[in-house]
């Protein structure tokens, strides 16, 4: 059944996968070649430019995750999940099959980025002190995709009722935050939550750090 699910999802999303794969292939090549052409003689500046380009990797991962998660569930939403309800399998198994098929769709994107990183770093005349990380970067991108796809998939798989409850909880949190900040201006709940999510061991912490294809 997994193969059937993969074929079904590929039919619906292949154009998105191809477009995003091209972006993933081009990103490392453009980042390195652009920086090398303009700052090849000033490597510290080249590394700073490369570090700025590194912000595009988690951004691309987020874009891929949200796009594919929405596309995977688009047909079910259009048909009000009637097809899924007719299938003689438990709900959780159906969702799991969708998820695993979605992961298979992510593989070409990770491979495209890895290929782009290898092409970008080949034939560059690097000083001996600098090191290249095409494989590590591709693995990190893949793991970031896994995390962000899981988040987007969970939201996309939720029912309208569940999403409505989620939005109400967010609204309530914002209302509490405003009330707290009026009573105690130094207390910032939103900042506290963002810090907790983005620092160790929060889920967004591994998405930070250096996304450097070439580094010291």
């Amino acid at each position: 059944m997994l193969k059937a699910m993969i074929r079904l999802q590929w039919k619906g999303c292949w154009h998105l996968v191809v477009a995003l794969a091209v972006a993933a292939l081009a990103l490392p090549i453009v980042s390195v070649r652009t920086g090398w052409r303009s700052s090849g003689e000033q490597l510290p500046r080249f590394l700073i430019e490369l570090q700025l380009w590194g912000l595009f990797y988690p951004a691309l991962a987020a874009l891929v995750a949200v796009t594919l998660a929405a596309a995977i569930w688009a047909s079910d939403r259009r048909g009000h999940h009637i097809y899924a309800l007719l299938l003689p399998i438990p709900r959780w198994r159906y969702v799991l099959l969708r998820y695993l098929a979605g992961l298979v769709l992510l593989l070409p994107l990770v491979l495209a980025l890895w290929l782009g990183a290898v092409i970008a770093t080949s034939s560059l005349d690097m000083p001996p002190g600098l090191r290249q990380f095409p494989h590590a970067l591709a693995v990190k991108f893949g793991l970031a995709l896994l995390l962000l796809f899981g988040l987007a998939f969970a939201v996309a798989a939720a029912s309208r009722r569940a999403l409505g409850i989620g939005m109400k909880l967010v609204g309530l949190f914002i209302a509490v935050h405003i009330a707290v900040i009026l009573l105690s201006p130094r207390t910032n709940l939103i900042w506290t939550v963002m810090t907790a999510l983005s620092t160790w061991p929060g889920p967004l912490a591994p998405l930070g750090g250096r996304w450097m294809l070439i580094d010291v």
Partner: protein, 320 residues
């Protein structure tokens, strides 16, 4: 009377004038200069509320009200740091005085506190002492670490002013200790590994002759050797030599008054220049991060959170 007639009469009646006495002007300028210096010295030497807080091995720290709490800590940090490179040496026999000053504090149109200061002096603190009194932001004096670092930066400038001419000319920088150790070493490491010239690349590969050329110590004679490292890298080498040489490294360096930079560095470090260069290079390369963009703990964290999110997704997914 017409103007031309008036002009002729004035010319005719003009006689020799007494020569001006420049001495009076000179004395006046001298008195003003002395008065200005007296006011400046008073400002440098003493804030009315500053009190001596602690003494340690020939150093005295004094501070006004707001900074008394950190004064002793600042003294300890400053003394430990400066001994690491300069030992017991002072910029001059007459001592020194560095006063960090901050301005008044205002809040909603009201003055909440007057100017504050924190001073470190090297005994004897006489009238001929070197004095520095920079204005600093409040945040510098808010932390003992930052205050000590700023004092150390100013102290480095004083020490460099008394260094041999060859070292001063080679270093081309105002202060050795302007940056913290970590940021200086990281900057030097970056410069070392990102050098694009032939000598710079060979230095990373372990050729001490190339290192000497890239650091401006000794010319290699190779026309294709390429450029040199920035002054920050030279400062790092000099401090590495002083640290290697121990307590009397600075004194030995000062003794090489008319020697070359290579001789001065070797004297300071207590070893041949080539050995110093290779040791310094190895030290910088050891600062390179030992991992790339990915580490195992981050990968484990991602897998853990992904499993949790999947379980949550399977649980909350509902059709109606």
């Amino acid at each position: 009377m017409s103007r031309p007639v008036l002009g002729i009469l004035l010319l005719a009646l003009a006689g020799p004038a007494a020569a001006q006495n420049a001495a009076a002007w000179r004395d006046s300028a001298y008195r003003l200069s002395t008065e200005r210096q007296r006011v400046w010295d008073s400002l440098m030497q003493d804030f009315s509320e500053a009190e001596e807080i602690a003494r340690r091995a020939g150093l005295v720290v004094s501070a006004t009200t707001e900074y008394r709490a950190i004064a002793e800590d600042v003294l300890g940090r400053f003394d430990s740091a400066r001994r690491r490179w300069f030992g017991p040496a002072l910029p001059a026999a007459a001592g020194f005085r560095i006063t960090l000053r901050s301005g008044e504090s205002w809040s909603f149109g009201r003055r909440t506190s007057g100017p504050q200061s924190l001073s470190i002096a090297g005994i004897p603190d006489t009238d001929e002492t070197f004095r520095l009194a920079p204005f600093v932001p409040d945040e510098t004096l808010g932390s003992a670490e930052k205050a000590a670092q700023r004092l150390l930066g100013e102290y480095g400038a004083l020490m460099m002013a008394s260094a041999p001419a060859a070292i001063r000319g080679w270093l081309r920088a105002g202060s050795l200790t302007e940056f913290s150790v970590d940021s200086r070493r990281e900057g030097a490491m970056y410069s070392l590994v990102t050098g694009v010239g032939k000598a710079q690349r060979d230095c990373v590969r372990g050729d001490s002759q190339s290192c000497a050329h890239a650091l401006g110590i000794r010319r290699s004679g190779d026309p294709d050797a390429g450029g040199e490292y920035y002054p920050l890298v030279r400062a790092d080498l000099l401090l590495a030599a002083l640290e290697q040489g121990g307590e009397w490294a600075w004194t030995r360096l000062m003794a090489v008054e008319s020697g070359t930079v290579e001789q001065a560095l070797a004297a300071a470090a207590g070893m041949p220049a080539d050995s110093l260069l290779l040791r310094w290079r190895d030290g910088l390369l050891a600062l390179q991060p030992d991992r790339g963009p990915l580490d195992l703990s981050a990968a484990g964290l991602i897998l853990g959170w992904s499993a949790l999110i999947l379980a949550a997704g399977l649980g909350i997914a509902r059709w109606v």
